[in-house]
Symmetry: C2
């Protein structure tokens, strides 16, 4: 199944921003995005998962150079929108396993998460699409994680192809 | 910018599964995926966001026919892994805005979330990749949401193209 994995990518130019405990009702996500549109930032990921008691966290990833203006924009937002807090985390990096259908096959996600686990790398956030499984992990573990993922998915499959031919 | 949006897609064959409050340490995501691999299920989304106090929720979406075997597999997992609970939600459906670069432009995410907000549709989960912004919403709102998103992104841009020619 590894033939599906086409590449391992990473991005160190990321800051994780989390709006904690926003009201879980219609219009809130739109308001948050409106704020980001107004400060002309580009986004790398938007993640919203399960919440608790009528509240949700909305997390997104921005380029490091945009931290200042997003911080400013979210300060104003907090006057309009009740929330528990806003956090900025510069200690993360992003690694992704890329290829058609990767997210649909749990074996690929398993091998990605297991590779990171074996390095003792904690997975902070996970987001998938049919073409990509992306994880936020500690920034200082990105380089070795990329190598290890390469070994799991790319080098092994090259060996398999050679053996098969 | 709407020329980026190539299609609106949806999926009603989904059940949202959430493992609540798993320990946030290396190896946990791998163990969860191992369990899913062993019950041969296919996955549609995996989402993990911010947690609280050393715990995280891991959410994923499975086909409705797999609910039984995943339920069984997660019962065994709960013996091995301390967690707060496991929930199954059959009341969701998935809608996606698809196109190159859609997730990087907050204006597209804004217009998607705003379209849903105007219908009074609550957004339960959000996951993005560079090709797709996906939302889980109430199942009984999927059809009208797809129409509205089509109107926002596809029909308007066709009008724009005609006017421009
Ligand atoms: C939390 C936020 O996503 C909210 N549920 C909304 O629909 O906007
Ligand atoms: C919660 C889970 O993702 C954990 N952080 C892990 O690395 O496996």
């Amino acid at each position: 199944e590894d033939v599906k994995v086409r590449a391992i990518t990473h991005n160190l130019d990321v800051v994780k921003v989390v709006l904690l405990g926003v009201p879980d009702k219609p219009g809130v996500a739109a308001l948050v995005l409106r704020t980001l549109v107004d400060c002309a930032v580009s986004l790398d990921m938007i993640i919203q998962s399960e919440g608790r008691e009528g509240k949700k966290d909305i997390a997104f990833v921005i380029p490091r150079e945009d931290k200042g203006k997003v911080h400013k924009a979210l300060e104003s937002l907090q006057k309009m929108l009740p929330l528990e807090g806003v956090t900025f985390d510069e200690g993360v990096g992003k690694v992704s396993v890329v290829g058609a259908g990767v997210a649909n096959d749990p074996r690929i996600a398993f091998r990605m998460f297991d590779t990171l686990a074996r390095l003792g790398v904690n997975i902070d956030m996970i987001s998938t699409s049919n073409l990509r499984i992306s994880c936020l992990i500690p920034r200082d573990r990105v380089a070795e994680s990329v190598s290890a993922l390469h070994e799991t998915f790319i080098e092994d499959s090259e060996v398999m192809l050679r053996e098969g031919s």
